[in-house]
């Protein structure tokens, strides 16, 4: 059967500007593969990003995009989604953007369970600003901004945070496994609610610790070990395995998923009338409105 949209349909003319070997290429590929598999109409997809190496991603695809300021991709995306819930809204960005400067919006977007798919290219370092510590840098890691004692703060654990904040689809992918990541992204997009896919995406230039080999030696597939993603307690137990409990094994795959929670759009009274973008402008009952003031 011939598909309406070829893989190349989703590519833009702009070539990625990432360093050769950057993990973000795999995330781009996984996303492109997922929207191709779902045959999404490019004009009904909006990819919103913030600032950072990974946030350049929307330019490399042929969908609509909004390349926002640092840390604010989620609220921009929420505005898009609430204005037109018919659009498929995907947010892409890095760990600094989403778990650092934008972490407040991250928590609130999840507790709303708004139907957005969030891909975080997590490289545990600030790349675009040339190698400072990130909120997910491991304790002890020496960076340009932590040259003496290394990082002395605990890292943010996005998986536990997502579970605690009300996200209804929580997964971790790895750029060394495009196929697996692409499945996670595809299911995240079709999921009715907020989906987080934390993508371990090595920075080959500034992070010499959390490399492809670092992950290859440690990752394992949650599904293969019999994890039940409908069990929130089990999901928490798996979430804290790395980096808090130990550093030898890193779970990949789907931690948690539930379809039982209504989305923000399901509950928002104004959306009962349909997408705001299609509603007529102005009011027809001006006198009724004014009577209140008489």
């Amino acid at each position: 059967m011939k598909l309406e949209f070829e893989m190349d349909t989703y590519k833009s003319e702009i070539k990625p500007t990432w360093c050769p070997g950057c993990g973000d290429f795999a995330v781009l590929r996984a996303l492109q593969t997922a929207i191709h598999a779902l045959q999404l109409e490019p004009w009904n997809v909006v990819i919103v990003s913030g600032i950072g190496c990974s946030s350049n991603l929307p330019h490399f695809l042929s969908t609509y995009g909004f390349h926002a300021i640092h840390g604010r991709a989620l609220p921009v995306a929420e505005g898009v989604k609430l204005a037109n819930p018919e659009l498929q809204v995907i947010v892409t960005g890095g760990d600094g953007d989403g778990y650092g400067i934008g972490v407040g919006h991250f928590i609130h977007a999840m507790r709303r369970n708004i139907d957005i798919t969030y891909l975080v290219m997590n490289n545990q370092i600030y790349g675009l600003t040339t190698g400072q510590a990130s909120p997910t840098s491991e304790k002890g890691m020496k960076t340009k901004s932590t040259p003496i004692a290394g990082v002395i703060e605990n890292p943010v654990d996005p998986i536990s945070l997502a579970l605690a904040s009300g996200a209804t689809y929580v997964a971790r992918g790895f750029s060394g496994d495009v196929k697996g990541m692409s499945e996670l992204v595809k299911n995240g997009i079709t999921h009715h609610g907020f989906s987080l896919i934390d993508c371990m995406s090595p920075c080959v230039t500034y992070n010499k610790v959390n490399t492809y080999d670092f992950f290859r030696e440690r990752v394992y597939d949650l599904a293969k070990e019999g994890h039940d993603p409908s069990d929130m307690k089990a999901a928490f137990a798996k979430a804290i395995e790395w980096p808090f409990v130990q550093r030898d094994r890193i779970p990949l795959g789907l931690f948690y998923r539930t379809e039982d929670v209504p989305t923000y759009e399901d509950l928002e009274p104004a959306l009962k009338k349909g997408p705001p973008v299609h509603q007529p402008l102005g009011v027809t009952d001006a006198d009724a409105l004014l009577d209140e003031f008489l």
Binding site: E13, I14, T17, E41, P42, W43, N44, V46, V48, I51, N56, P58, H59, S62, T63, Y64, G65, F66, H67, A68, I69, R72, P75, V76, A77, E78, G79, V80, K81, L82, A83, N84, E86, L87, G104, H105, H108, E268, P269, A270, L271, K272, K273, G274, P276, V277, Q279, P280, L281, G282, V283, A286, L289, L290, F293, L294
Partner: protein, 526 residues
């Protein structure tokens, strides 16, 4: 000489019901056909402190809440201490005989002391003394010879059909207050001929919401902040029925960024805040300027700097609005002077935002935003102009979102439109929206491209200058003094100008700016 206007001042502690009593009185004035104007002095406390509201009504248009009151209603001793000396000659003070004492040495001539056992009278109707301010309100209504049916209708508005017994009790309480006045010598006998033709009464913030609805707003994101919060409250009640998504968000960063997203997605989107919140929105409003995203940002000012005086008015944020954001981007700042302009300029702001694809700021303040004024009937038939949109059916490869044009405006496409996919970018970009900031910035021809793109955006100011309300001169052309003003100072300024002309023969006029634009070198006001 018969009086043309009346002024009442109601004071007490927060929690005494000062503001609800004042609102009822304002409503009674407006329903009596008076041009009405209120000012509330309150603080950031939920209980205690000293709060007071002044309500003025006039047979002729009024331009301020007035100066000295004809009547002061004291709900506690502090109100007596602070305000008794302000009551005009021949005026009156209404107070609770039990526990409140006037100081005759501080009073002007012929001020009548209407001491009524407010609490005891209220308790004859209900065990708690909640209705003591209603007893006092009844006294004020009687002193001014206002028609008692407006008292009844005001109470019905507040408690509605759901609690008829409370409405009835309050009416009885007000009558007890009126009887107290009759026992103490009757009304002030000012002899105003009330028309009893009801006038519309609203705050600037409410008028602004109505203007937004008339213009077709479909999205409001806001974080609570005095004195902008009543916009969120009013829209939360009325917005959804008109298809408006009203969202209280986690902070003002989210408020502005969500508004940007909604504007990009093609709806008329708005956010509102005061100076502190606007400060947090600064980076994101610049993003809207750069991505050429339409939106309306409402800035209802209060005293700064920093948290400042949250409940006091000030016009201190013009620089903030003019200078918001790093670098330069085109904007217009619309400064309504009264509720009618809160309505009309807000409606116009949505057109300007979409025609010029840039944020438009509506700047107001606590005095205008929260004060009640009577207004003429608002005309909801406002023009709706959505600006240049790219036609359906083109090919994305040919569509350049940031096409350089003479007007600076490029055809816009909203997500969902087939064939016009593009990325709105907050980094500097080419016509195609490809970034200049990354690899291209090293190449000289792209530096030139950046200059052209910046000039394109700033050319929008030419059109904005043409399409926004011009400065206005009010008063005699030749004057001894010219006041330069914008926003809510309009009313008191006009009143002062009329007053000095009448009392001292001094000719003063005013130059007023309903629009404040960033100027560019060589531009002039003319």
């Amino acid at each position: 000489m018969s009086r043309r206007d009346i002024v009442a001042r109601i004071g007490g502690a927060a929690g005494d019901g000062v503001s609800s009593t004042a609102e009822s009185l304002a409503k009674i004035f407006a329903r009596s056909g008076l041009n009405t104007w209120t000012y509330s002095s309150y603080q950031s406390v939920i209980r205690g402190g000293h709060v007071w509201t002044q309500v003025r009504g006039g047979l002729d248009p009024v331009l301020s809440q007035g100066v000295d009151p004809d009547i002061v209603m004291c709900l506690n001793q502090q109100t007596m201490d602070v305000h008794q000396g302000d009551v005009v000659e021949g005026g009156a003070i209404v107070y609770d005989l039990d526990g409140t004492k006037p100081d005759p040495k501080k009073l002007r001539k012929n001020v009548r002391l209407i001491g009524i056992p407010l609490r005891k009278k209220a308790q004859t109707l209900s065990a708690n003394a909640l209705m003591r301010n209603t007893v006092a309100l009844g006294a004020v209504v009687r002193l001014f010879d206002l028609d008692f049916r407006h008292v009844e209708s005001a109470f019905r508005d507040i408690w509605g059909d759901k609690k008829p017994e409370i409405v009835e009790q309050n009416i009885q309480a007000a009558k007890l207050g009126a009887a107290g006045v009759d026992e103490a010598g009757g009304s002030l006998k000012y002899g105003l001929a009330y028309t009893n033709q009801a006038k519309y009464l609203m705050t600037g913030n409410e008028a602004l919401c109505l203007g937004a609805l008339a213009a077709g707003v479909k999205f409001l994101a806001q974080y609570p902040m005095t004195p902008a919060s009543s916009i969120l409250h009013w829209m939360a009640v009325h917005g959804p029925a008109h298809g408006v998504v009203v969202k209280q968000v986690e902070d003002e960063l989210a408020a502005m960024n969500m508004t940007v997203g909604a504007g990009f997605a093609g709806v008329r989107a708005m956010t509102a805040t005061s100076g502190g919140g606007f400060s947090l929105m600064v980076e994101a409003i610049g993003q809207a300027g750069m991505t050429e995203t339409p939106l309306v940002a409402v800035l209802v000012q209060r005293s700064g700097p920093s948290t400042g005086l949250p409940t006091k008015t000030e016009q201190g944020d013009l620089n903030l609005a003019l200078g918001a954001g790093q670098g330069d981007w085109p904007r217009a700042i619309l400064a309504p002077r009264n509720p009618e302009e809160c309505f009309s300029l807000t409606a116009q702001a949505f057109n300007l935002a979409e025609i010029y694809q840039t944020p438009i700021i509506v700047i107001s303040d606590l005095y205008l935003g929260e004060g009640y004024r009577t207004v003429d009937k608002l005309d909801f038939n406002v023009p709706i102009v959505r600006g240049m949109m790219a036609a359906d059916g083109g090919i994305s490869k040919e569509f350049r979102r940031y096409l350089i044009t003479e007007s600076g405006v490029s055809p816009r496409a909203i997500p969902g439109t087939k064939g016009f996919q593009h990325v709105a970018a907050t980094d500097e970009h080419m016509e195609s929206s490809e970034l200049i900031s990354d690899v291209l910035a090293g190449l000289p021809e792209h530096v030139e491209e950046r200059r052209k793109m910046h000039e394109k955006r700033m050319r929008k100011l030419v059109g904005l200058r043409k399409d926004t309300p011009r400065p206005e001169l009010w008063g005699p052309r030749n004057a001894d003094l010219t006041l330069i003003l914008w926003g809510s100072t309009w009313g008191p300024a006009h009143e002062a100008i009329l007053h000095v002309d009448e009392s001292d023969g001094v000719k003063v006029n005013s130059l007023e700016f309903p629009t404040v634009l960033a100027t560019s070198p060589g531009s002039s006001l003319a």
